[in-house]
Each structure stands twice: as structure tokens, then as C-alpha cells.
């Protein structure tokens, strides 16, 4: 029963992926049921950008569903919600009018809420609560923005919005952009609207986390792309600047939070925020270039954003599935209790390593290609002759560079502490390899990471076609041959196949040389040096806390760490220590400076508003009568 439901979801994913690819290639269709509901009824349509996201969702649903067959273990709860979740996500990029879009959007939110709260423990329920509040606040912004646009353009169809957007006054278009941007930004997890993400993603079952992080938050990106380049016309300069700045802040702050996080799934969730930031940097660059009438560069930035969207879906889904396998095997998400898993879970470790290398942007894997493209777009900013925009681009370059380096450090920690060295706990020592459907799901995604890394010459032209359709600019035909990708004429070129071959050769060369020199390959097994101690235990290993500490010191203005040292001495003498406990918690600046004051204001207002709520039924009825009379007299 459970397996059947997941196979159904995988089949639906395959169909969606094929349909989406057809849409990217130019196929279109429209299904409408205008009489079904007010405000234009239901209408679905396929266009290249929608096709890209549909293919992305479908493509991610296949491995995630396959994995769930093994991970769920016949658990029947959440099957319906899972299928509704996948189906409603597929409907979002196909929606052709506001009502269809909002229905699909809300269905997606509700289904994912159910999945987050599914386990029913305290942590999951409170995470689901925060998620529900943030997602409904986002929906309120979307609703307001879409109603405004609907009234101003006298239509709720997206195609009409694109056609009449140029006639809107700039202030009105700006207001609509701000409202819709907040709504979509909350779903994408843009800082400071990210608070739900590190709570909800770890609480959900791992195949759901993979889909939420891999594709659901990407639908926020989908919305941002629509409002930046399609529904509201060409836009204004501050939109691009705002998107890029939001991207820089999300990328840097996201990776900084991830560095000090020792819950494996929370760490991955913070990296989702970081990667959303990288996508937004590319998108912001595309918007600014588009406004400056540089279509080739605009397409480059946009294609970089799309490519990173695709790549992040692949490697983040892979990493969440890997983390799920580890959680399944050890029963904990705390990295400090793991270690040594590479020997017990070799397949999972290999898949997780591929994902880590990809997210750390190591060539020739996929993360490298899209970050390279983003850098190439940013580096050509001097062709815009506006000093303030050049400054924003410079911030983007610096932020992206810092982010890449920190992400690398973070995944050295994530992989090293989790999979290498000796097991730090009994549970880790007794870990077992994942079942074959789980391994198959991870294997598919690992292959996707490698394939997307080696074949940018196939992927980028397709993405550029999508971008050309959205921005209504001609499609530059020549982007290099089958092996080398050229961008902006001869500005830069890349061949990941060649890079990969060179790396492989560099790895193989010493072995070949040693063999040629006749040096024998004798293996010598010996203990690691333990500072002269006789017995080596896992307690002597480097911990995740220790790894993160230098970063805490460097970025202490951001983390605001507090050292808590708790020493318990022997009652006879304080020189005989029986127990030492060290903790080094950090505080979120966004919690302290943004959410706490906002919540305080809300609570105070609510207390005042309670005066209206006396508990007397008569008084409530008086409100109704008074409202009715006021409306009748004023109308």
C-alpha cells in the first residue's frame, strides 16, 4: 500500500518531468475551466519557464519517492499528504491565473504543513506552527499583491498582466513587486524571512525534506522570476538591487549559520538559505543587465540562476536523502554522536561525498558550473555605466566568494565529522547501510550531480532559450561547441570535461609514476598518533564544535557567542574535577533585533484588542448590527 503510493508519486513525477521538458522545448497547451470558480476559474498553461520548474519538480519527485519506499518502512501516515504535495507543486508553475495559482500554492503549503507535523512530537508540532505562521503571512502578501494587480489591470490572468504591465504607474508596480516579493521570499527562505526553514526541514521525514528543500522553496524563486521579468514588465533598477542584496545577505548569513550548526539536517537547511541567496545573486544580475539593455548578459545571469536552481535541487535533495539514511541508521541528527559511518555505510558515504563536493562547488561537479556562470555574469558589471549598481555588483562578487569558501569549510566538517574517524556513540558504531530503494534514490541524484557538471554545453543553451522567452529577447545561437562553453563572445569559456580529465590525470599520475619507478605498494596499518597516550578513544577526536570555533571567533559580531563552562569538582578537593561541560551557544541577530520586537508589538496590540472581546454574546451581536448600519448609511 505504502510502496504503491510512492510508486504512483514517482510515476507522476516522471510524467511531469517529461511534460516539463516538452514545455522547455517549446510545446504549449492550455486547459481552462472558467465556469468552475469565480475570478476566472481554473486555468493551466505550459510555457518554457513553467516547463523548467515542472521538469525540476517531477525530476526530484522520482528519486525522493523511490527513496521513500525504503525509508517509510510501510508507514501509512502521510501518504495522501505526500501525493497531494507533489501534485500541487506541479500545478503551481502551470497556473495561468491568480486563483489557480493561489489554490495550488495553498494546497502545497497545507500538504507540507501536514507532513512537517506528521511525527507528532513536540519539536515537529512547534516547527509546523512556525511554518504555518510564516507561510500564511506570505500568502497574505501574495493575495494583497495579486488583488491589487487584478484590480489595476482589470484581469486575473497572468498573460494580461504581462501585456499591460508597462502601463502601470511606477509606484504601483513597485508596491505590487514589494508585496509579491515578500510573499515569494518567505517561501524561498530569503533572510530575514527564513525562520521557518531550519525548523521545518529537519522535522519533516527526510524524503519530504529533500522535496521541500530541493524544489518547494524553488517555487518561491519561480515567483520571484515571474514578478521580476514577466508579470510586471521590465521592472525598475531598485528591484534588481534589492534582489541582489537579499541574495548576498541570505548567502553569507545562511552559510555562517550552517557552520556552527551540529544538527545534520538543520545544517543542510541553512545551506538551502545560502543557495537561495546564490540563485538570487544571479537573478539580480540578470535583472540589472536586462534593464541596462544588455540582453546577452541578462540571459547569462538568468541562466546562471536557473542552472543553480537545478543544481541545488539535485545536490540538496541528495544530501537530505543521505542525512535521512544516517538518521535512519543511527537514530540521531546530532553530528557529535556520529563518526566512522563510512565503514558501515559505504554507499551512503559515497553519495553524501558527491553531494558535499557538488555543494562546495568543486569542479567538475554541477555546483561549480553554476557558481562559475554567476561569477562570469557579475564580473562583467562594468558594462553598466552606473556607479551605485557597480557597487552592488562588487558586493555580490565579494559575498559569493566568501560564501563559496565558507561552504567548503562547512562541508569538510559535515562529511568529516559524520563519516570519518571512530564512531562517537554506540548508535553510530551499530549503524547499518541503507536499503536498496534508498540507495537507488541517492544514486540517481548523485548521477544527476555528475551529469549536470559534465554537460553544461547541453544544459546552458536550453536554459538560455527559457530566459530568452521570459525576457522576450532574441536567443543567442552560438555558445560554443559540444565540449566548451563560451559566454558573452570570448569573455570566458569553460570545459568541465577537460577539467575533469585533468583532475583525474592529476590523481592518477603519482600512482603511475610510482609504479613506473618501481616502488612497491606495501600497506602498513598503524595507529594514529595520540599525543603519546596509550589508549585511543573517540573522545580524543576533533569535534564539530571545535571545528566551528575559529569561525565563531572571527565572526563573533554576527554570532554573539556565549561560552558556558560548567565544572563539577570532587567534594574533597577542587583540583579533582569530576565533570566538565562546555557549551558555546550562539544567538540569532534576526531573532533578537527583528522577530522579538515585532512579536512584542503584536502581543501588546493583541492585549489591547482583547478589550473588544468581552465574552458577551450581546456585545458581539451589537458589533454586527452597528457594522450593518454603518455600511448601509455610508454605502
Amino acid at each position: 500500500m505504502a510502496a504503491l503510493a510512492y510508486v504512483l508519486a514517482a510515476g507522476g513525477g516522471l510524467a511531469a518531468a517529461l511534460l516539463g521538458l516538452a514545455g522547455m522545448a517549446g510545446a504549449t497547451f492550455t486547459v481552462a475551466a472558467p465556469a468552475l470558480l469565480p475570478l476566472g476559474g481554473l486555468e493551466l498553461t505550459l510555457d518554457p519557464l513553467g516547463g523548467f520548474f515542472l521538469a525540476l519538480i517531477g525530476g526530484a519527485a522520482i528519486p525522493a519517492s523511490l527513496y521513500a519506499v525504503g525509508y517509510g518502512g510501510g508507514e501509512r501516515r502521510g501518504l495522501l499528504a505526500y501525493n497531494v504535495f507533489v501534485a500541487s507543486m506541479c500545478a503551481v508553475p502551470l497556473a495561468a491565473n491568480a486563483l489557480t495559482f493561489l489554490l495550488a500554492w495553498e494546497l502545497m503549503s497545507l500538504a507540507s504543513y501536514v507532513l512537517v507535523a506528521q511525527s507528532g512530537d513536540r519539536e515537529a508540532v512547534s516547527a509546523a506552527w512556525v511554518y504555518a505562521v510564516m507561510t500564511q503571512a506570505g500568502l497574505a502578501c501574495l493575495l494583497a499583491g495579486m488583488l491589487l494587480l487584478g484590480v489595476w489591470t482589470d484581469s486575473f490572468r497572468f498573460a494580461d498582466w504581462s501585456a499591460t504591465a508597462s502601463t502601470l504607474p511606477p509606484a504601483g508596480a513597485g508596491l505590487a513587486f514589494a508585496l509579491l516579493g515578500l510573499g515569494f521570499g518567505a517561501k524561498a527562505g530569503v533572510i530575514p524571512l527564513h525562520v521557518w526553514l531550519p525548523l521545518a526541514h529537519p522535522a519533516a521525514p527526510s524524503h519530504v525534506s529533500a522535496l521541500m528543500s530541493g524544489v518547494m522553496i524553488k517555487l518561491g524563486i519561480y515567483g520571484l522570476m515571474r514578478i521580476s521579468l514577466d508579470w510586471l514588465g521590465d521592472g525598475q533598477a531598485w528591484w534588481g538591487i534589492a534582489v541582489m542584496l537579499a541574495g548576498v545577505i541570505s548567502a553569507v548569513a545562511g552559510v555562517l549559520y550552517a557552520l556552527v550548526e551540529h544538527d545534520l539536517k538543520r545544517l543542510l537547511a541553512f545551506h538551502s538559505i545560502e543557495n537561495i541567496g546564490i540563485i538570487l545573486i544571479g537573478l539580480g544580475a540578470g535583472m540589472l543587465f536586462h534593464l541596462a539593455s544588455l540582453p546577452a548578459l541578462a540571459l547569462l545571469g538568468f541562466a546562471a540562476a536557473l542552472y543553480h536552481t537545478l543544481n541545488h535541487a539535485a545536490f540538496k535533495a541528495l544530501l537530505f536523502l543521505g542525512a535521512g539514511a544516517v538518521l535512519h541508521a543511527t537514530g540521531t541528527r546530532n553530528m557529535e554522536e556520529m563518526g566512522g559511518l563510512i565503514k558501515r555505510m559505504p554507499w551512503t558515504a559515497a553519495a553524501f561525498l558527491v553531494g558535499s563536493a557538488a555543494i562546495a562547488a568543486l569542479p567538475p561537479l554541477n555546483g561549480f558550473v553554476s557558481e562559475w556562470l554567476t561569477f562570469q555574469a557579475l564580473l562583467q558589471n562594468l558594462r553598466i555605466d552606473r556607479a551605485e549598481q557597480n557597487l552592488v555588483f562588487a558586493l555580490g562578487i565579494a559575498g559569493l566568494a566568501l560564501t563559496s569558501g565558507l561552504a567548503m569549510a562547512c562541508f569538510v566538517k559535515a562529511f568529516g565529522i559524520t563519516f570519518l574517524a571512530l564512531p562517537r556513540s554506540e548508535a553510530a558504531a551499530r549503524a547499518h547501510e541503507a536499503s536498496w530503494p534508498m540507495r537507488a534514490g541517492m544514486g540517481l541524484l548523485a548521477l544527476a550531480c555528475v551529469g549536470l557538471g559534465l554537460a553544461p554545453t547541453l544544459v546552458v543553451p536550453a536554459l538560455v532559450r527559457v530566459g530568452a522567452d521570459v525576457m522576450r529577447v532574441p536567443d543567442p545561437a552560438n555558445l560554443g561547441g559540444w565540449l566548451t562553453l563560451n559566454i558573452s563572445g570570448e569573455f570566458a569559456s569553460l570545459s568541465t570535461v577537460a577539467v575533469g580529465a585533468a583532475l583525474l590525470a592529476a590523481l592518477a599520475l603519482p600512482a603511475v609514476l610510482l609504479a613506473a619507478a618501481g616502488v612497491g605498494r606495501r600497506r602498513r596499518l598503524y595507529e594514529t598518533w595520540g599525543c603519546g597516550r596509550l589508549v585511543q578513544t573517540a573522545r580524543m577526536e576533533y569535534t564539530a564544535t571545535a571545528f566551528a570555533n575559529p569561525f565563531k571567533r572571527i565572526f563573533d559580531f554576527f554570532y554573539r557567542p556565549v561560552a558556558q563552562l560548567d565544572i563539577e569538582a570532587h567534594p574533597e578537593s577542587r583540583f579533582f574535577v569530576t565533570r566538565i561541560e562546555y557549551a558555546n551557544p550562539t544567538h540569532s541577530v534576526f531573532d533578537r533585533w527583528l522577530y522579538r520586537p515585532a512579536l512584542g508589538v503584536l502581543h501588546r496590540t493583541a492585549r489591547r484588542a482583547r478589550l473588544l472581546q468581552s465574552g458577551s454574546a450581546n456585545l458581539y451581536l451589537i458589533y454586527i448590527l452597528a457594522a450593518l448600519l454603518a455600511l448601509l448609511v455610508l454605502a
Binding site: Q613, S614, G615, S616, A617, N618, L621, I622, I624, L625, L628, L629, L632, V633
Partner: protein, 214 residues
């Protein structure tokens, strides 16, 4: 025709005011039945004069529902209340009657533009029916127990029904049927709730709901 519909609407308003004036529960219930019968008669008159046989069916449903089924349910609910409400200082029917008179004036004022715009033979009754609705809502507001609220709500609904009859010669049958069903469902639900509340608390006084406030 104009004189007849105006007369019926006027009688309806008089009965409404009598409900405001009456204190005892059986008396109020009888007056509510009278109000419903007047409205059914209004539907019959308009149905005959405007040549709309559908309205005769509606009138039959009104008689069945509001003059028989619902009053029976209301009587069951009221079976435990004292025949005369306990007298309380400062609670006479003078002030409610005065406010009801004010509401009639408001109804005329609000309906002025509507009357100016229509040329129906029934337009004279429109403000009267609207006043019935407003007074019904007012009875609902001032109700001291669940029965009072429910009676007010039903009077409000009767007023709106009369307004629809006079202003548009009756709503489409489907809408009318839906409204009747809603009203019936509300009364039946309230019956369950009221009987249960009385069993638990020995009182259906809404003031006690205050204690539920968090």
C-alpha cells in the same frame, strides 16, 4: 394590489413591534407564528397578482416550516423557561420599543434611494419589511438567553424574506430553498445545543458565557 401588499407589510411590522413589547415566551412565540403567516399571505397575494405560481409553493413551505415545524421546535426548547420572565429593575419594554421606532426611521432613510429608483407596485412596503429585518436583528442583540437570540434571528430572516418578496417578487426557487434549509438546520442545531446547555447548567442565560473567556 398596492394597498393590499402595503397593508400586509404594515401588519407584519405591527406584529414585529408587538414581539418587542411582549415579555412572556408563549406570547412571543404566538406572535412569531402570526408574523410568518402574514408573510405567507403576502407571498400568496404577490404570487396571484404578479402571475407567479412558484410563489404559492414558497408560501406553502413558509407555512409548513415557520408556522409549524420551527415553532414546535421553539416550544420544545422553551418548555423549561418560566412563563413570565423574572422582572428586573430597569428592564421594561419601553426602551426597546423606542429604539425599534428609531430603527423604522433608519429603515425609511436608508431605503429612500431604493424607493426613488423603483417603480414597482409593491415599493411602499419595502421600508416596512426592511424595518422588520432591522428590528429582528435588534431583538437578537438584546436577547437575554439563547431563545431570545434565536427568535431575533428568525425575525431577521423573516424580514429579509419579506424584503425579497416586495423588492423582487421573490428570490429564485433554488436560493429560497437553500435559505429555508439553512434556517431549519440552525433551529435544529440550536435545539440540541439549548437542551444540552440547560441540562448541564440549569440555565440558558447567555451572560454565563462570559465565564468562558480566556
Amino acid at each position: 394590489m398596492t394597498a393590499l401588499t402595503n397593508l400586509l407589510a404594515f401588519l407584519g411590522l405591527v406584529v414585529t413591534l408587538l414581539i418587542v413589547w411582549r415579555q412572556g415566551w408563549p406570547g412571543r412565540l404566538a406572535l412569531f407564528v402570526a408574523q410568518s403567516l402574514l408573510l405567507a399571505l403576502l407571498a400568496v397575494v404577490i404570487g396571484i397578482l404578479a402571475g407567479k405560481p412558484g410563489l404559492l409553493v414558497v408560501a406553502a413551505v413558509v407555512v409548513l416550516l415557520k408556522a409549524w415545524l420551527i415553532p414546535r421546535a421553539l416550544a420544545r426548547m422553551g418548555a423549561g423557561t418560566p412563563v413570565l420572565r423574572p422582572l428586573a429593575p430597569g428592564r421594561s419594554s419601553a426602551v426597546p420599543l423606542l429604539v425599534s421606532g428609531g430603527l423604522v426611521v433608519v429603515a425609511y432613510a436608508v431605503m429612500l434611494p431604493v424607493n426613488a429608483a423603483t417603480t414597482l407596485p409593491t415599493e411602499g412596503g419595502i421600508p416596512l419589511a426592511f424595518a422588520m429585518a432591522l428590528i429582528g436583528l435588534f431583538v437578537c442583540v438584546t436577547g437575554r438567553d439563547a431563545l431570545g437570540h434565536l427568535l431575533g434571528f428568525l425575525m431577521f430572516e423573516n424580514g429579509i424574506f419579506g424584503l425579497a418578496l416586495l423588492a423582487t417578487y421573490g428570490l429564485p426557487g433554488l436560493v429560497e430553498a437553500g435559505v429555508f434549509l439553512d434556517v431549519l438546520a440552525i433551529v435544529l442545531l440550536m435545539e440540541g445545543v439549548v437542551l444540552r446547555v440547560r441540562r448541564e447548567h440549569d440555565s440558558i442565560d447567555v451572560d454565563r458565557l462570559r465565564e468562558l473567556r480566556g
